[in-house]
């Protein structure tokens, strides 16, 4: 995102904010969607984050940090959306995947197991995974973005990956057993 656009929006230029919102929204929605696994809630989280961006932009000291700052806002908006639904885990929908990308029963089952494993994680663990694997931030930047110690980010990532891997490997054993008996 261009620094000039951020600075103009900071000064209250609504048109600059509009351009900023269009430029940043795909990434922000992608983050919210992957944390919440629900397009409707992700929409609400995106809107909340964009509104907060407009309201709080003057408080952003370094316009170069806009991306990381906006990630933090959308993650917190996602936490909030997650907290609104008591039966949240029951509402999680599997991500719509491209059928062409599925190359067989093992992939389909593996994706399902990853989905189930992800469902069991807290929003805080999901956020670390999404920022690391989807946005591509190293752990130190994940920590900085979320405003948590690097050690905490690292341990959350470790725990989340370990949990998912356990689900993934259990699935692999299941597929092997299924193929053996088939």
């Amino acid at each position: 995102v261009e620094r000039e656009l951020v600075e103009r929006a900071q000064r209250g230029d609504a048109e600059a904010f509009a351009a900023l919102a269009h430029a940043a929204s795909d990434r922000l929605y992608g983050i919210a969607y992957r944390i919440l696994r629900d397009p409707d809630r992700a929409e609400d989280a995106l809107q909340l984050a964009l509104v907060r961006i407009w309201d709080d932009l003057p408080a952003l000291r370094d316009p170069e940090r806009f991306d990381a700052w906006s990630y933090r806002l959308v993650v917190h908006a996602s936490y909030r959306e997650a907290g609104r639904e008591r039966r949240w885990s029951g509402r999680i929908r599997p991500i719509v995947s491209d059928p062409v990308a599925d190359d067989g029963i093992s992939t389909i089952v593996a994706r399902d197991e990853l989905e189930r494993g992800f469902r069991r994680l807290t929003p805080e663990h999901r956020a670390v995974l999404v920022l690391h694997y989807f946005v591509g931030l190293p752990v130190t930047e994940v920590a900085e973005t979320l405003g948590i110690p690097a050690g905490t980010a690292g341990s959350r990532l470790h725990y989340a990956v370990r949990s998912l891997r356990a689900a993934f490997e259990a699935d692999e054993r299941g597929v092997v057993a299924w193929r053996t008996t088939a």
């Binding site: 609400d44 964009l50 993934f168």
Partner: protein
């Protein structure tokens, strides 16, 4: 190590998969919010706080302690005059009058018998408006209540939201603040107008207000929000 890499790759692929393009609605709503709100916290509450700050400051300074009371008395007078004016012009009456108002969300012309107006009961759809902040924000609910060209007049902050998109943006923003609104009086009805007193605000900052709503064809076409003493 190979299996670990395979797993990490599978995880990365899985997380990458899915929607990558943001829908327009939240972007449009946020932009409408930005245009309607020149970057400040919510108006009803903000103005109320500013008023209270002014009163408290006056009290601290002691020299102008009476000024705070003058402001409060002034607000009382304005709201009182408004209510009296509405009564005088027949816009509002306190019970007993014919209840000819069509229900919100219902077709026009569904008049309720006059006998039912003795103790006015808000219709179900209008009652929902009072509790909309208690539930997750719903654009569909707002769209059901307001006409597409409705106007929300926030007289406290001197802000006007014109059209459904701006109203949705404003109410959506309030929802993000955990804003709440509680009706504190009976609903007063006359003709196409409904009025009631309420308290509203963010958690811990309840403030009294007066809301007047004009309906047309079962939907809100104008809504005025006033501060109340």
């Amino acid at each position: 190590v190979t299996r670990e890499r395979e797993f990490e790759q599978a995880l990365a692929d899985w997380i990458e998969d899915g929607f990558l393009e943001a829908p327009d609605r939240p972007i449009r709503a946020a932009i409408a919010h930005a245009r309607a709100h020149p970057r400040r916290r919510f108006s009803f509450v903000g103005l109320g706080r500013a008023l209270m700050d002014r009163i408290q400051m006056s009290e601290v300074k002691q020299q102008g302690a009476h000024r705070g009371w003058l402001v409060a008395v002034g607000v009382t007078a304005v709201v009182g005059a408004l209510v009296i004016g509405l009564i005088g012009t027949g816009v509002v009456s306190f019970g007993g009058g014919p209840n000819e108002l069509p229900a919100v969300g219902a077709p026009a012309g569904t008049a309720t018998p006059a006998a039912a107006a003795a103790t006015p009961t808000p219709d179900e759809a209008l009652a929902k408006m009072f509790t909309m902040f208690d539930a997750p924000y719903s654009p569909a609910q707002i769209a059901a209540l307001y006409a597409p060209d409705a106007v929300l007049h926030d007289t406290i902050a001197n802000e006007t939201s014109t059209g459904l998109a701006e109203i949705q943006a404003k109410l959506s923003y309030l929802s993000t603040l955990n804003f709440h609104s509680t009706r504190t009086s009976a609903t007063i009805r006359q003709g196409d107008f409904v009025a009631f007193f309420e308290t509203h605000g963010e958690p811990g900052y309840d403030e009294p207000g007066l809301v007047v709503v004009q309906l047309k064809d079962g939907k809100i076409v104008n809504q005025w929000v006033y501060g109340a003493p």
